[in-house]
Every structure is written in C-alpha cells, then in structure tokens.
Amino acid sequence: MNKRHMILGSVAIAAATALTPALAQKKYDSGASDTEIKIGQTMPYSGPASAYGTIGKIEAAYFRQLNDQGGINGRKINFISLDDGYSPPKTVEMVRKLVEQEEVLLLMGTLGTPPNSAIHKYVNSKKVPHLLLSTGASKWNDPKGHPWTLGFNPSYSSEGRLYAQEILRTKPNAKIAVLFQNDDYGKDYLNGFKDGLGDKAKSMIVAEASYEVSDPTVDSQIVTLKGSGADTFFNVTTPKFAAQAIRKADDIGWKPTHYLNNVSASVGSVLKPAGLEKSVGLVSMVYIKEGNDKRWDNDPAMMDFKALIKKYAPEVSPDDGNATNGYAIASLMAHILRLAGDNLTRENIMKVATSLKDYQIPMALPGVLASTSADDFALFQTMQLARFDGTMWVPFGKPQSVR
C-alpha cells in the first residue's frame, strides 16, 4: 500500500470517527459503568418520621421494575437506600458511607430538612449530585452557594405565601389562626405565610399554636384556636396531626376557611381517616396525582403505578400520598438519567438536571411542569390551588407563579 493510500485511509478513518455520534464515547464517574448506575439515599425508615419511609419503598420498587424491564440505556439501577432515623448525625454517617464506601454516582430523594442540612456542605464539597431532596425548604435552591443540590418538593415558604395571597385576595379582613409543627418544616411555612401577608400579618393573625411531634394530640391547640374567634385557619401539620385537627375542628363546631398544607393533603392517608365529610371545603395546593382520584383511573402513569404496587409493594395502599410522591420522584430521576445517556459524569448529570424545560412528570398533575435553569433550581414554578369537595381535590383558579 503506498503512502497516498495510507494517508487517505487515515483521513477517512479519522473523519468517520469524528462524525460518529458521541455514542462511542462513554464517560463515567464513580458509581456508573456499562452495566450499572449506583444511586444512594437516606430515608427515615425508623423513628418519629417513619411514615415517610413509604416514599423510599416505592422509589426502590420503581427501580426494581425498571431493572426488570431492562434498565436505563441498558444499565441497571443499583438503588441503595439507608435508614437514618431522621437523626442528622446518622445521616452524615450513612451519606459518607454511600459516597466514600459505596461510591454512588449521585444521591436522590434524601428526606428531611435537618438530615439534609447536615450533609449539605459535605456533598457540595465532594461534588456529588444531591438531587430531588424530599423537603420543601427554600435553602435548597441556591445555585451559587450549593451548585450540586437540587430539591424536589415545591418550596414550603412559597406555598405559605400562596395561601397568604389568596386570603388577601378573597378575605382581606380575615382573622387567621395558625397551627404549626414546631420544627423547620412548620416554621418555614409560617414564615412564608407571614411574608405573604406582609404588614398585615400582625393584625390578621390572631392566634398561633404549635405542637411537637411527640405530642399525642393537638386537640387542646384546636380548642385554643377556636377560642380566639378566628374565621380562617392555616393548618401546617403532618398527616397524623392534620387528621386530628380536621376531625377535632369539626367536632367542636369550628368551621373556618381551612387552608391545609400540601404535605398532608393526601385523601387516602389523611382526609379519609379524618372523615371525608369533615374535610369538605378544605383548600390546599396540589401537584401530584392521587390514587383514589377517579379522573386518573385510565391514566397510563396511574395504571402503571397501581400495577407496580401490586407486584412490588403490595403492603402499600395506592391511596397513600407518599406512594405517588415517591413514584413521581423516581420517574423524574429516571428521566434525567435517560437524558444523560452515556455521559454519566456527575457534572453532566447536574447539567441535565438543571436544564429541564417544561417537563411533564407523568405522575404530576397535567400542567404542573418541571423546569430548572442555571440560576433557578426550583423544579415547580407554578402552584395550583384546589378545594376538597368530599371526594377529590378540585383545582380552582389558574396556576399561580411562585418564587
């Protein structure tokens, strides 16, 4: 073969290689390979917040199903979810194990504000994607300070602001009573709510009562709030206490305009035990589909979800709000990973996760779109108010943009 042929041949090969799509170039960081993607998570499977463990259970089931169907781009998901009992020191220990020993590619859906606060600096210094946190604290939206952290839940304080604005719009002379859980989640909502009311906060809020997670009931607080003469009630409680509050308010004949935080808006896990008739008229914000909502009986995502539960997690009820929440998170994660293709570096994952454009998560309500950008990591830009009619949450008004 003469030199000319060789040069031509080389040029041809070079051109062919250059024109071949990047499919040929696989890039991995630790935790990713040709056959698997390792995802780490901490969840409170024990302790006071163990009710949220269902989220992790469903996420694990989702990935198991995904693996049985072939995985993502041919790779199986190795989902390692560890119990931290909602205790920050334990979270630190478990996350260090995941990052340093298991060498996961990324963290997904770690739950709780204090647990996440404990590892916030660490994961950012280690440059590990800290994605889809199951908490609505506003501090996760900090692209400049913490570029590796991206939360999932709509911001609690934005939601509080939403209700405040609604009250100012519909009932500017309302006398408001607030019941809140005495921790970061409750205070986040309360502060956002007061922010939204602005100067009128002091005059409109006539009573505030808090409770601890260790309290058996909130009955006494409800009695106090009723006694304040308030005609509007902002209820920032987790499921068990929300059910108690709804029931007690009804029992003692207190019928205020009742705003319920999204965390406890599940029909199956909260309103049904409390009593559906007692929950009529409740106002909340909704963004995820619910299992008992007849509208979604033939919805592909809902049908897949129900089949998933039946096969992989039969002890979980499809009406459990935590379950659909977990399904939504896992499916978004799968979507991000699919988009990342063969470039499974942590940097690329972050790039994909922070450039979502109006993505409709299948389990989210139609119109609730996920969008992120380089300077705004909040997934949900709009929130939809809804009112409970005795069977389901009926949206009213337009989705409102929130910051």
Binding site: V92, K97, E100, P114, S117, A118, H120, D183
Partner: protein, 334 residues
C-alpha cells in the same frame, strides 16, 4: 480495663501497662489503615465512649439512674457550636468550655433531682431529655441556637498535613484529637474513681445509710457525681459536634438518651473498658441489623439486646471477664 477491680473487688492501684501500650499503639496506627469513612466512625465511637464513661460514673459507681444524658450531649454540642459559629473560638478550646458548662449544669440539676430515688429520678432525667429539644427550638433563644434550623459548623482542617511521611487529612486529624481527649478523660476518670471520691461514691451506692453515718455528705457527693458525669458527656457532645459539623434539636431526641443507657449496660457497668464496647455496639450493631433485615432491623437489634441481657448479664466486659477467668488468668478485670 476497669483498672479498678481485682477479683476481690478492691480498687487496683496499678495500671496494666503492657495492655495499655499495645492498645495505644494499635489505636494510633488505626487511621492509616482504614478509609476516611471508617476513621470517622471510629472517632464517633471514641466520643460515645467518653459519654458512656460519664454515665458509668453516675450509674455504675454512684448508683443513680439517668435516662436523660442526651441532654448533656446536647448542651456540650451546642456550646461548641455557638462558640465556634458566633464567637470564632477555635474548636479545641471549646471542648473544655463545653465540659465546664455541663459540669455546672449537671451539678445544678443534680441538687434538687437527686432528692428523688429510683424511678422518680429516672422520670426527672427523662423529663430533662424530653424538654431540652423544646428549649433549643424556643424562638427567643433562636438567635443563639439557630432554632429549628440548627447550626452548621466548619469542619476543622489539620494544622499539619503530614506526620512522619503519612498524610493527615481532616478525618485523621480529628481522630487523633478524639483519641487524645478520650485518653485524657479516661485518665481523669481513673484518678477520680480510685481516690477518695470513688470510694465515697461506691459506699453511697452500696450502703447509703452507712455512708451517711460515716460522715459522707451524700447529697453533695451525689450531685458532684451528676455534675462530673455531665462534664464527661458534655465533652463527648462537644467532640461529636465537631465531627459531624452540624447540630440541630433533632440530633438529640429522647431515643439518644435511651441509646446511651443501653450502651452502658451492654458494655458493662462499672467497667471503663465497657464504655468502649458499648460505644462500638450502639454505633455498629444498628448498621449490621440494617444489612441483615431491611424490613425490621430494629427488631433484630431489640432481640439482640434481650439475648445479651439474658446470656451476659454483666455486659460485654462482664462476659470477657468470665472468659478470662475461665482461661485461668489472674483477673485484672477487663
């Protein structure tokens, strides 16, 4: 090493030097053979061990029950966090301050509380453990404590990055800090307990009426014991705050206090070495249980606790002592 007991129960005045040297050499070499994550875990075990020594001084030697020592972990941790965060005090200086604050707090709590006996004291300490997180979240103290959000601390960097050719990163450095503090606290405990105070405490525990008759001011000594045990726990809390680099009310639940007590009993009452065994137990066994059963790991932990109590009533150190004596050694208790 209990360093305290020979087979007839009398306080031993000598240290088993050989055993100590071996252990210390192993302890110093450890961080260079383990991954950073395991070094971190080891440091946490050391910190817990200090707390258990403190609890042992109170319960094992002085016979007072406390279900609320988590509160002193919290006070120590928060002292460190506030000093580091608000006043830029270097981390190592906060440790003795935390201990001192807890000494005073423990003594003040002990004065009225120790009029109670048995179950009533248990309730009082339990109440302390339950009430403290609420106080930490109290809105008027928020500017100090960070309220529900807690306080994030910067993890200290090692002052020297290599020692004898071995690299010293942050984890290893903190491990050595923890080791140093642990050794110091053990030495302090040993001196305290083998002296007059120790004998007074044992007398009060075993024969309170006789002790009083002999002129021992039982209330004073009991409150002192409480204060000293709080000091130890406060130092432990301070260390743990530096290691975890974060404090929040949620880190100090009632369950933590119960875990401490369980660790002490499992390790072995009146055994300083038992504190190490107990600390390792509560640090690692829940993780192991989680690997055995994802469904109900705590059920495994609970079963293990019960089995241990039935099979080894003297805790792990008691069991080891039995083993030693069966092997025919002279019992300087371990």
């Amino acid at each position: 090493m209990t360093l305290l007991k020979t087979t007839d129960g009398s306080p031993a005045q000598q240290l088993p030097w050989l055993q100590i040297v071996v252990v210390m050499v192993a302890a110093c070499a450890l961080p260079f053979f383990l991954s950073n994550y395991h070094v971190f875990q080891a440091s946490m075990v050391l910190s817990t061990a200090i707390a258990l020594v403190g609890l042992n001084i109170l319960t094992g030697y002085s016979g007072q029950i406390s279900l609320g020592h988590g509160a002193f972990l919290a006070i120590g941790a928060y002292t460190t966090a506030i000093l580091m965060d608000k006043f830029d005090v270097p981390y190592w200086a906060t440790i003795p301050v935390a201990g001192l604050v807890c000494l005073i707090a423990g003594f003040l709590f002990g004065l009225p509380a120790l009029k109670l006996e048995g179950h009533y004291l248990a309730l009082a300490t339990f109440a302390l453990a339950v009430a403290l997180p609420q106080l930490l979240k109290f809105r008027h103290l928020e500017s100090w404590t960070g309220g529900v959000q807690g306080i994030v601390i910067l993890k200290p960097d090692p002052p020297i990055t290599s020692l004898l050719g071995l690299t010293l990163n942050s984890d290893r450095w903190l491990y050595f800090v923890a080791l140093f503090v642990t050794v110091a606290m053990y030495w302090f405990a040993w001196n305290l307990l083998r002296g007059r105070i120790g004998r007074a405490l044992i007398a009060i525990r075993d024969q309170p009426t006789a002790a009083a008759l002999m002129g021992i001011d039982t209330s004073l000594y009991k409150s002192l014991a409480f204060g000293v045990s709080a000091l130890f726990t406060g130092v432990a809390g301070s260390l743990s705050a530096i290691l975890v680099a974060f404090v929040a009310p949620d880190s100090f639940t009632v369950f933590l206090s119960i875990t401490l007590m369980v660790g002490m009993v499992v390790g072995g009452l009146t055994s300083l070495a038992g504190a190490l065994y107990g600390a390792a137990f509560v640090q690692f066994v829940p993780n192991l249980a989680d690997q055995i059963s994802k469904a109900a790991p705590w059920a495994i932990f609970g079963t293990l606790l019960i089995v241990l109590m039935i099979v080894l009533p003297g805790g792990i150190s008691g069991g080891l002592n039995l083993l030693w004596s069966k092997l025919g050694r002279r019992s300087v208790s371990v």
